[in-house]
C-alpha cells in the first residue's frame, strides 16, 4: 500500500572560506560608448556567475546587463580569484566587481561634474546616464562622459578592486571566532509516497524556501535551487559509491551509480525569502551549495511521517526501507491492546535525564 508523508528540514550555510583569506579581484573598464568590460579570474562552472557579475557591474554603472562584457578565467589576462567554490562568487567576487565598477564610475563623475555644473557627489548613474540627483533632466549619456574622459581629459575610466570577507580565526581549544562573513538560511519541505510493501519511495513535491540576500537574478536562483534539489534527491535515495575488499570501486559508471533522471524528479517549488545583507553587493549573499543541504533530511523526515521508520543511513534505498519496515513489523505485537512499539533513535532515546 502506498502511504504519503511530509517532512521538513531547515539549514544554515556560510558564504566564503572558513577563516582563511579568500580574496577576489576585479577590473572594470568603461568603453567610449557607455558599455563596460569586466575582467575577473573566476571560472564559470555553469551556475551563471558571469551573468550575475555582469548584472552587478551594470547596476553600479546604471547600464543594462547586455552592456557588460565579461572576460574570465585566464591567469594572464584576468586578476586573481580564489575560485568558484564555497558559494562565494556572488558575495566575494560580486563585491570586488561592484567596487571596481564604482571606482570607474567615480572617475566618470569627476569628468561629468564640471560639464553639468555640479560637484561629483551630486551625481548618480541611472538608465545609461550620469544625472544630477533629484534633477534627472540635467544629465549626460555615460558614453559621452567616457569618451570625453578618454579623448579630452586623458583619464580613461578604469577601476580595480579586491574584496575579502572579514573573519576571526577560531581558537584551537574552543573553536570560538568568526569563521565567515555571512550565512544563508533555508527550509525545504518534501512530500513523498512510500510503498510499505517494497520500500520504494517517490518524491512527489518539494517546496524550497531559500534566502540568498537580494536575488540578483531570480531565474538563476531558481535554476540553482532546482538543480541542488535534484542532487539532494540523489543523495537521499539513490547515489552510493560501493567498494570491494581491495578498495576498488564496484560501480564507477552511470549504469550502476544511480542519479536522478527527469523521471525521478518531483515538482520543485522555489520561494525566495525577502532579505538584504548590507555586507553583500546590493544586499546579495549566495545560493550555490545551500540548495542541496536540507533535501535529504526533508525526504527522510517525510518517509518517517509516511511509514514510521527512521532512516539513519543514507541512501534511503528501497532495500533499506524494506528492512526497516520488516524490523518494525517484527517488533509490533500481534495482539491488540499491548504496549506501543519502541521509539526510534536508540536505547536512551527519550529517557529522562538525571
Amino acid at each position: 500500500m502506498k502511504r504519503r508523508g511530509r517532512g521538513m528540514a531547515t539549514m544554515w550555510y556560510p558564504i566564503g572560506f572558513t577563516v582563511a583569506a579568500n580574496p577576489s579581484a576585479a577590473v572594470v573598464k568603461v568603453n567610449e560608448d557607455g558599455t563596460a568590460t569586466l575582467l575577473t579570474g573566476t571560472v564559470e562552472t555553469g551556475q551563471g556567475s558571469l551573468t550575475i557579475l555582469a548584472q552587478i557591474v551594470a547596476q553600479e554603472l546604471g547600464i543594462a546587463t547586455d552592456d557588460v562584457h565579461v572576460v574570465s578565467a585566464d591567469t594572464d589576462a584576468t586578476p586573481m580569484d580564489t575560485g568558484a567554490i564555497a558559494s562565494r562568487t556572488t558575495y566575494v567576487t560580486g563585491n570586488a566587481a561592484r567596487m571596481a565598477a564604482e571606482k570607474a564610475k567615480l572617475t566618470l563623475f569627476e569628468i561629468a561634474a564640471p560639464l553639468l555644473g555640479v560637484k561629483p557627489s551630486q551625481l548618480e548613474a541611472k538608465d545609461h546616464k550620469l544625472m544630477v540627483k533629484n534633477f534627472p533632466q540635467r544629465n549626460m549619456h555615460i558614453g559621452d562622459a567616457a569618451n570625453h574622459a578618454r579623448m579630452v581629459s586623458g583619464q580613461p575610466p578604469i577601476g580595480a578592486a579586491s574584496f575579502n570577507p572579514e573573519t576571526v580565526a577560531l581558537d584551537p581549544e574552543t573553536g570560538q571566532g568568526k569563521p565567515f562573513g555571512t550565512y544563508v538560511y533555508a527550509t525545504q519541505i518534501a512530500e513523498v509516497e512510500v510503498d510499505d510493501e517494497t520500500g520504494e519511495t517517490e518524491v512527489l513535491r518539494i517546496v524550497a524556501s531559500h534566502d540568498c540576500g537580494t536575488p540578483i537574478n531570480p531565474m538563476l536562483v531558481e535554476g540553482q535551487v532546482e538543480g541542488g534539489v535534484s542532487m539532494g534527491v540523489g543523495f537521499a535515495l539513490e547515489e552510493e559509491i560501493l567498494f570491494d575488499a581491495n578498495g576498488k570501486q564496484i560501480n564507477p559508471n552511470l549504469t550502476n551509480y544511480i542519479m536522478p533522471t527527469s523521471l525521478d524528479m518531483p515538482e520543485v517549488e522555489v520561494d525566495i525569502v525577502d532579505n538584504y545583507d548590507p555586507t553583500g553587493p546590493f544586499g546579495a549573499k549566495g545560493v550555490g551549495e545551500p540548495t542541496l543541504v536540507p533535501t535529504a533530511a526533508a525526504i527522510c523526515n517525510a518517509i518517517y511521517d509516511a511509514v514510521g521508520v527512521r532512516v539513519t543511513t543514507l541512501p534511503a534505498t528501497a532495500e533499506r526501507i524494506f528492512k526497516l519496515l520488516q524490523a518494525k513489523r517484527e517488533q509490533q505485537p500481534k495482539q491488540l491492546g499491548t504496549a506501543p512499539p519502541a521509539l526510534p533513535g536508540g536505547p536512551s532515546d527519550g529517557a529522562p535525564a538525571h
Binding site: G46, M219, S230, L254, S262, V268
Partner: protein
C-alpha cells in the same frame, strides 16, 4: 579502415575511419561537429544524442559504419541563418541550460519528441528526456521550455511566464 557516406544536417559527408569508430567520434573528430558530447561513451548519459533517420539515438552506441546512407541531424543543424529553432529560443529564454554540456543531447531528444507528438504533457516530456542525464538543472526549466516550444510550433501564443 571503412569509408562511410551519409547525410549530416542536410549535406552529404564522407569519412574514412577505423571500423570500431563510433558515430559520435566520427561526428566530432572527422566532421568537427562537436555539439554532440562524450559524457560516458557507453550510452548511459545521453549527452551524445543525435537524430538518425528520425529517431533519437545515443551516437556513442552506434558504429560509424552503421550510419552509412543515413540522415543524421545534430544540434548544429537546427538553427538556420534567419532563426534559432523554437527549442533553442525557449531554452535560452527560460534559462533551461546551466553548464550546457547535456544541452545538445536534451534538445535533440526534445526535437524527436515534438516531431512525433505536437502536444506532449509533462509526463511524456519526462519520459522523452529519461535517457538524458543533467546534473545542473533538475530538468524543471527544460520541461517548461519544451512545452513552450511545442506551443510555438503549433502556431499558438506562448502562455504567460510565471
Amino acid at each position: 579502415m571503412v569509408t562511410v557516406t551519409l547525410k549530416v544536417n542536410g549535406k552529404t559527408r564522407s569519412a574514412t575511419v577505423p571500423p570500431e569508430t563510433t558515430l559520435l567520434r566520427m561526428l566530432r573528430d572527422q566532421f568537427d561537429l562537436t555539439g554532440a558530447k562524450l559524457g560516458c561513451d557507453v550510452g548511459d548519459c545521453g549527452a551524445c544524442t543525435v537524430i538518425v533517420d528520425g529517431q533519437p539515438v545515443n551516437s556513442c552506441l552506434m558504429l560509424a559504419g552503421q550510419s552509412e546512407g543515413c540522415e543524421v541531424l545534430t544540434i548544429e543543424g537546427l538553427a538556420d541563418i534567419d532563426h534559432m529553432h523554437p527549442l533553442q529560443k525557449l531554452f535560452e529564454h527560460f534559462g533551461s541550460l546551466q553548464c550546457g554540456f547535456c544541452g545538445p543531447g536534451v534538445i535533440m531528444s526534445a526535437k524527436a519528441l515534438l516531431d512525433a507528438n505536437s502536444n506532449p504533457c509533462t509526463q511524456e516530456i519526462r519520459d522523452a528526456l529519461g535517457g538524458n542525464l543533467c546534473r545542473c538543472t533538475g530538468y524543471s526549466k527544460m520541461i517548461e521550455a519544451i512545452k513552450g516550444a511545442a506551443c510555438i510550433m503549433r502556431g499558438e501564443e506562448l502562455p504567460a511566464v510565471k
